[in-house]
């Protein structure tokens, strides 16, 4: 069922600078978690699924075909990306805490381990690196969140940030290298 409230909310965001509004986040967040749970039941524990596919499904469920506005879609996906980031971090933290026997054991991974790091550990590292990049270059950090966690296409990100696809691609490549450098040298 398309949710008209949500469409209204999306519209009301208007000239929002891309930071998803505080009203939108909890809605999307909830829906994503709900979907993840539903998938879990259908596909059983051992299977894998793509969080980015979940984001698309959430869009279809919450807004639906009725709203084809690029702007709304971009707002939604930007919010969803941020939510997915939190969800994945939450999950990765929990697992790594369990593995390390409680406490917020600081990740410390040297070169050798890095290549073999589990997806969960990678996610935690990437998140922390994004956190640092956010301070220096928030716009590129946002591109990473949208692309990496939200599975948005360059076109969608470009629409949302008001830049060309080419610029998005550049930012992404550059930010990725920067993040990796941060992970290698700083964390």
């Amino acid at each position: 069922m398309p949710d008209h409230d949500l469409t209204l909310l999306l519209q009301s965001l208007g000239k929002d600078d891309g930071q998803a509004s505080s009203e939108l986040l909890p809605l999307v967040y909830e829906e994503l978690r709900r979907l993840a749970g539903a998938r879990m039941r259908q596909e059983m524990a051992g299977h894998t699924l793509q969080p980015t596919a979940l984001v698309h499904e959430a869009w279809m469920r919450m807004v639906g075909e009725s709203d084809r506005t690029w702007k709304n879609r971009a707002h939604f996906f930007a919010a969803a990306a941020e939510c997915m980031r939190r969800i994945l971090i939450e999950s990765a933290r929990r697992k790594s805490r369990l593995k390390r026997g409680g406490g917020q054991a600081k990740l410390n991974i040297d070169d050798l381990e890095l290549a073999a790091a589990s997806p969960d550990d990678k996610i935690l590292l990437i998140d922390e690196a994004i956190g640092r990049l956010e301070k220096d270059d928030p716009e590129k950090a946002r591109v990473v969140v949208m692309k990496f966690f939200g599975g948005m296409t360059n076109q969608e990100i470009g629409e949302h940030l008001g830049v060309t696809e080419r610029t998005v691609e550049r930012h992404w490549a550059y930010a990725r290298a920067c993040l990796f450098q941060i992970i290698r040298t700083e964390i």
């Binding site: 978690r33 749970g37 524990a45 793509q50 994945l88 929990r94 997806p119 590129k140 691609e169 550049r170």
Partner: protein
């Protein structure tokens, strides 16, 4: 800082990484970073990382295991309980007093602003604390409005240092209602009386727009007040705030411990469709509670429900008819049956007889799968239980003749016994002996009296039924109002409007005021004046007994709408009512509102006279202020005074006040309904003074503001920049001025 902006750095990097030939790349970098060796060094380093970076990021997010994601809202790794003595926010933990499915409850001491003991519940599960607290905050106002002796007040919510949400409520020390009843072997009637009190508490909450969503024995505690048992409903607002875990996901993974007992869940709650929960879900849960109070069991066994899995649980709740209470008891094993009866100070056969009939009907009506067929309100359920206790016909049972007669007999056992005896005597007497003649005549008289009495009783019963119908209709209307209020809080205007549009016009309660005001404004903002006027009319009727500050606002909404619709007779009535009610007003803002809204159309000399006290009150107020440099309030007052003098025919004075008003432009800028109105009134004064040129100019100035506003779409506005109805007022006046322009054409 770098000499070059970052944009360039990313560009250079991107171009360079596409070059496969190292020499070419080096040459490119030399050229691009000419004169900035640090930049060149940075980019070269990044390029080194590039292949690894790509690999590192690849496939990380694409292949998260489903199990991993599902764990997200599952229970947090078992944390350590908060220690006694810990201070959380303003509360100091004193003693652990309970542990339930979703949290641990402590007795705590609040230090500020008052020193008191409270119950503090810390939620166990790992959930998004921020949104839990946010949801509680959203509900807070409604929760604060609940004030009922059988409801434990919800006081506060927040997050502990470890990030878990907690709730603070009034401290209630008591037993679960079911335990209390069994421990004290309460007989049926006393159980029912406790239950009725619970229903009233729930009804109160519903009228404030709060749905409990988690009614079960452990949320209804019985305490003794001077030896009298008093049930208290706790945990209001919590189920809604932590609603999140009630999703498919947690139902699957952790639902057993989370919900504690799905036995109390209504079918629509088990569907997890999310939004579709209303007060009738609580009625269902009350039905389960009644079932348990009567039989000691829930309609469906909790353990079995949990074991059966989610889908099966849903199907059971949706499709399976539970055994009626009397049947449930009948099928109990001998010992169990005996114990159940003893707990009710009864005997097996008596217990079964007591249950079969009314109580079976009442319980099953409350438990109907289709919520349309349930009692529509908690009060409705309570009424019926009450009727059962006083041997009146219950609504749950379809009224058959025999049934009503039976009720009548039970209520009037003695009279009926006499009647029957007499009838017997008649038969015998007629056949046997004339000696019996006199006795017979006497007997017939008694029989006639009895018959007369029976007819009266039957009529009374019929009247009672009609009354009940009326009560039921009222209850249903009230219920709809509550539903509409809930819809409106979720901004679902169309649905709310549809719901109340069909209501009989007798909705005199405060929730009604909120609903009709909101819907009236909603229509008005869409330019739908007719339905707006209708909603406001109901609103004003609801407000009648209540002369609050806000009701002058309600008049201010309706007044220009009626004029806009050209409903001058209705407006006239409204104006009288307004002048009557606010004759001795002592609030400058109310006075101003009343004055101008009473003068939207030319008024009789008498009407203007009636307004004289208000006008002079305002002018005294204005004189106290500096009219050379008016402030916002004074400016509004001046515009209203201008209108008053204009209606009086004192054009020079009116024009003077309007000009003074126009001198003040607030921080909101010239885009103000006050300025628009002042311009228009001034224009009308000038027309009447024969100054056509300045009149046209002022009118044009006012009109352009107004037209722009309506073209852009009205907003609700605020007291600062003016409300939509202030704009409508200006527009109504501008239409009058427009007509004047034609009339007074040279």
């Amino acid at each position: 800082m770098n000499a070059r902006p970052q944009q360039d750095e990313a560009e250079i990097f991107d171009d360079a990484r596409r070059m496969t030939n190292p020499a070419e790349r080096a040459a490119f970098l030399d050229r691009a970073c000419h004169g900035d060796p640090a930049l060149r060094e940075r980019i070269a380093q990044l390029l080194n990382f590039e292949p690894q970076a790509q690999e590192f990021f690849d496939g990380v997010v694409e292949n998260i295991s489903a199990a991993n994601l599902a764990e997200i809202s599952a229970a947090e790794a078992p944390g350590v309980d908060e220690q006694i003595g810990t201070v959380i926010g303003r509360y100091k933990l004193l003693e652990k007093i309970g542990e339930g499915g979703c949290g641990v409850v402590y007795m705590a001491e609040q230090q500020k602003p008052v020193r008191r003991r409270v119950a503090l519940k810390i939620i166990k599960l790992g959930m998004d604390t921020k949104s839990v607290v946010a949801r509680f905050e959203a509900e807070r106002q409604a929760l604060a409005m609940m004030d009922h002796p059988n409801i434990a007040r919800a006081l506060d919510a927040g997050a502990t240092e470890t990030g878990r949400p907690y709730f603070v409520m009034e401290l209630v020390r008591g037993f679960k209602i079911t335990e209390y009843c069994d421990q004290n072997n309460l007989p049926m009637a006393q159980r029912l009386n406790l239950f009725i009190q619970v229903c009233h508490a729930i009804q109160h909450a519903h009228q404030k727009g709060v749905i409990h969503r988690d009614i079960k024995p452990s949320n209804i505690l019985v305490t003794l007040h001077d030896g009298v048992p008093v049930p208290k409903v706790i945990d209001f607002g919590i189920a809604k705030a932590i609603e999140e875990p009630l999703t498919e996901l947690t139902l699957f993974t952790a639902y057993a411990q989370l919900i504690g007992t799905p036995a109390y869940m209504s079918p629509e709650q088990a569907e997890m469709s999310g939004l579709d929960i209303d007060t009738r879900s609580d009625v269902y849960s009350l039905g389960v509670l009644l079932y348990e109070l009567l039989t000691g069991k829930t309609p469906f066994d909790s353990q079995e429900l949990i074991k059966s899995g989610v889908d099966h649980l849903r199907r059971t709740l949706r499709e399976k008819e539970p055994a009626v209470p009397s049947m449930m008891v009948t099928t109990m094993q001998g010992n169990e049956l005996l114990a159940t009866a003893e707990h009710r100070r009864s005997e097996p056969v008596k217990l079964i007889t007591a249950l079969s009939g009314d109580l079976d009907w009442i319980v099953m009506k409350a438990l109907d799968k289709d919520r349309q067929r349930r009692y529509q309100t908690a009060n409705g359920l309570a009424f019926d239980v009450q009727r059962h206790l006083t041997n009146e016909p219950v609504l749950a049972r379809p009224p058959g003749r025999f049934y009503r007669l039976q009720k009548l007999v039970r209520r009037n056992k003695i009279i009926f016994a006499a009647g029957t005896a007499v009838a017997l005597a008649l038969v015998v007497g007629l056949g046997i002996s004339t000696v019996m003649f006199f006795r017979e005549r006497e007997a017939r008289k008694i029989a006639d009296d009895a018959k007369q009495r029976e007819i009266q009783l039957r009529e009374a019963a019929e009247r009672g039924r009609q009354n009940e119908m009326l009560l039921r209709q009222e209850a249903e209307s009230r219920e709809k109002i509550v539903q509409a209020a809930v819809l409106l809080r979720n901004n679902r205007y169309e649905e709310a409007d549809r719901l109340v549009a069909a209501l009989p016009p007798n909705q005199e309660n405060l929730a009604g005021a909120f609903v009709f005001r909101t819907l009236g404004e909603w229509h008005a903002l869409r330019g739908e004046w007719q339905p707006a006027a209708e909603r406001f009319a109901v609103l004003l009727r609801i407000n009648q007994p209540d002369e609050m500050y806000s009701s002058s606002m309600d008049f201010s909404m309706q007044a220009p709408v009626l004029v806009q619709l050209d409903k001058l007779a209705d407006y006239e009535q409204l104006r009288r009512e307004m002048m009557r009610r606010f004759a001795d007003v002592s609030d400058p803002q109310v006075a101003e509102r009343v004055l101008k809204n009473s003068l939207l159309v030319p008024a009789s000399g008498e009407a203007v006279k009636t307004l004289q006290p208000i006008a002079s009150y305002i002018s005294v107020y204005v004189q106290g202020m500096s009219t050379a440099y008016p402030d916002k309030t004074t400016a509004w007052q001046l515009s209203a005074l201008g209108l008053y003098y204009f209606r009086q025919g004192n054009f020079a004075e009116a024009a003077d006040d309007c000009r003074k008003c126009l001198r003040y432009v607030g921080p909101e800028g010239p885009d103000s309904p006050r300025l628009a109105a002042a311009n228009v009134i001034l224009a009308m004064c000038e027309f009447n003074l024969g100054h056509r040129e300045p009149a046209l100019e002022k009118l044009a100035a006012g009109k352009s503001l107004i037209e722009q506003k309506f073209q852009d779409g009205l907003k609700r506005g605020n007291g600062f920049a003016g409300y939509w109805f202030d704009w409508l007022l200006a527009r109504v006046l501008s239409q009058e001025a427009e007509a004047m322009k034609m009339q007074k054409a040279p």
